[in-house]
């Protein structure tokens, strides 16, 4: 019972701080996800465009960012830009860093989704008399969503977990708060286990939902191909 004592004694002091930090983690995850989605779509369209140099530049960005750890990117943005006179606060740096990192992965997801659809589909839809908007709404979108949705949800889970890394550039999120509480109370096991539990409680519903969606969509796909 000695172990629980640590939680009981510190609870009143810990929980308001952890609640705020969890809110920050959610905000950080949400904002960087939005940024990553936008960047991902732009990069995917860029890679498929026919304008000279644009596909090459997008590809170089994607390959470079996917080749380095998120942490290295965060350090580059937060510490590495300071000598060049660019000073970003740690929360913005975290949003930009995580967004730039995930954007590169999402670009490949979107590209895969677009390319998986044979362009004959659109032509066929137009041939039977659909307007381009209708073809998009009834033919392209429903299929593209099936391909893209599961990886998009998976990416959100990964982003939520990766946001913990931002504690290393002292972004005021859950992991940083846990670290503070651990060193102040000398109860590292208590603080980190609790942080792990909070992450689990956030990620588990998401990952169960992702698997549900995956199964649903697989059923739908089979019906299409059959």
């Amino acid at each position: 019972m000695g172990f629980w004592q640590g939680y009981i004694q510190n609870w009143d002091y810990w929980w308001p701080q952890l609640a705020v930090a969890t809110g920050n983690t959610i905000a950080l995850t949400g904002l960087s996800y939005l940024f990553a989605l936008t960047l991902g779509i732009i990069l995917a369209l860029g890679r498929l465009s026919r304008i000279r140099f644009v596909p090459g530049i997008c590809r170089a960005y994607i390959e470079f960012v996917r080749g380095i750890p998120a942490l290295a990117l965060l350090f580059l943005i937060y510490f590495g830009l300071v000598p060049l006179g660019i000073i970003v606060d740690s929360f913005s740096a975290a949003v930009i860093g995580l967004g730039m990192n995930q954007g590169a992965y999402l670009a490949e997801v979107f590209r895969g989704g677009i390319e998986a659809l044979h362009k004959g589909q659109r032509e066929a839809a137009l041939a039977v008399g659909m307007t381009p908007a209708k073809a998009y709404r009834f033919i392209i979108m429903p299929q593209a969503v099936r391909i893209v949705l599961p990886p998009l949800l998976n990416m959100l889970i990964i982003l939520l977990k990766d946001s913990s890394v931002c504690s290393l550039i002292s972004t005021p999120e859950l992991m940083l708060r846990a670290k503070d509480l651990a060193s102040m109370s000398f109860l590292p096991m208590h603080a980190y286990l609790l942080a792990g539990l909070i992450y689990f409680l956030m990620a588990c519903p998401l990952s169960l939902m992702t698997r549900r969606v995956e199964q649903r969509l697989r059923r739908g796909m089979r019906r299409i191909t059959a």
Binding site: A72, L76, L84, D162, C204
Partner: protein
């Protein structure tokens, strides 16, 4: 010296040599965690195909937990948390155990779908033409399974290589650790972190190309 360059090349070389020392540790930690993850993954995938219901459930719970908890949190529990309970682990072994435990959850799914992709009729057919179970495994199952499983395992290994960067937070002396050390002693933040990023890129990009080749090969073979 060379005024065109925005940095001192001699200093850059000195930094690079120190970071390379970290790169050796990065590779060691990656390799160690990969081995742990593969062993765990194989064991748990085998359990998941077994008929013992409780064992299957236990594996599912394990996978769910390690999918949903950040690697950094797990590393802190293993390194700082266990130290508090009197169990002292060195940073590098803690990193290998932590990253390997997470990898095991990922690879279990990979191996299981690999097993399932092979129709069990294959094994039956092999036994029917008179192969021993060992021969069926060696000549029929294994060559096909390895082709299915190799690209996702390769992708996992590349992800792992980059994930080892966070191990610097528990002071395992790999690339990011030395980079942070160099920064505190020289204040050359831009140069050091650009070099560190470049070093990661030089390791992961060629690997990614190899995995892409494997994936293409697999697609044409299907």
């Amino acid at each position: 010296m060379l005024e065109i360059l925005p940095f001192d090349p001699q200093q850059a070389l000195k930094f690079l040599l120190i970071l390379l020392k970290g790169a050796v540790m990065t590779v060691q930690i990656t390799a160690g965690s990969l081995v742990v993850a593969i062993v765990l993954g194989l064991v748990m995938a085998t359990i998941k195909t077994s008929r013992v219901r409780i064992a299957r459930l236990a594996v599912d719970i394990y996978i769910e937990i390690f999918r949903d908890v950040p690697a950094l949190t797990l590393l802190f529990i293993l390194y700082f948390g266990l130290a508090y309970l009197g169990v002292k682990i060195e940073p590098a072994p803690a990193a290998i155990v932590g990253l390997g435990a997470i990898g095991g959850a990922i690879l279990t799914e990979v191996f299981r779908s690999g097993f399932e992709a092979l129709h069990f009729g294959q094994r039956e057919a092999a036994l029917a033409v008179g192969m021993t179970p060992m021969m069926a495994m060696r000549y029929i199952i294994f060559p096909q399974a390895i082709r299915i499983v190799l690209p996702p395992v390769g992708n996992y290994a590349i992800g792992l290589l980059k994930d080892t960067a966070i191990v610097s937070a528990i002071a395992a002396p790999e690339i990011m650790f030395w980079a942070r050390n160099l920064v505190t002693s020289t204040f050359e933040t831009t140069l050091v972190y650009v070099l560190a990023a470049a070093l990661y890129f030089c390791m992961s990009f060629p690997l990614a190309q190899v995995v892409n080749k494997l994936e293409e090969k697999r697609r044409s073979w299907q």
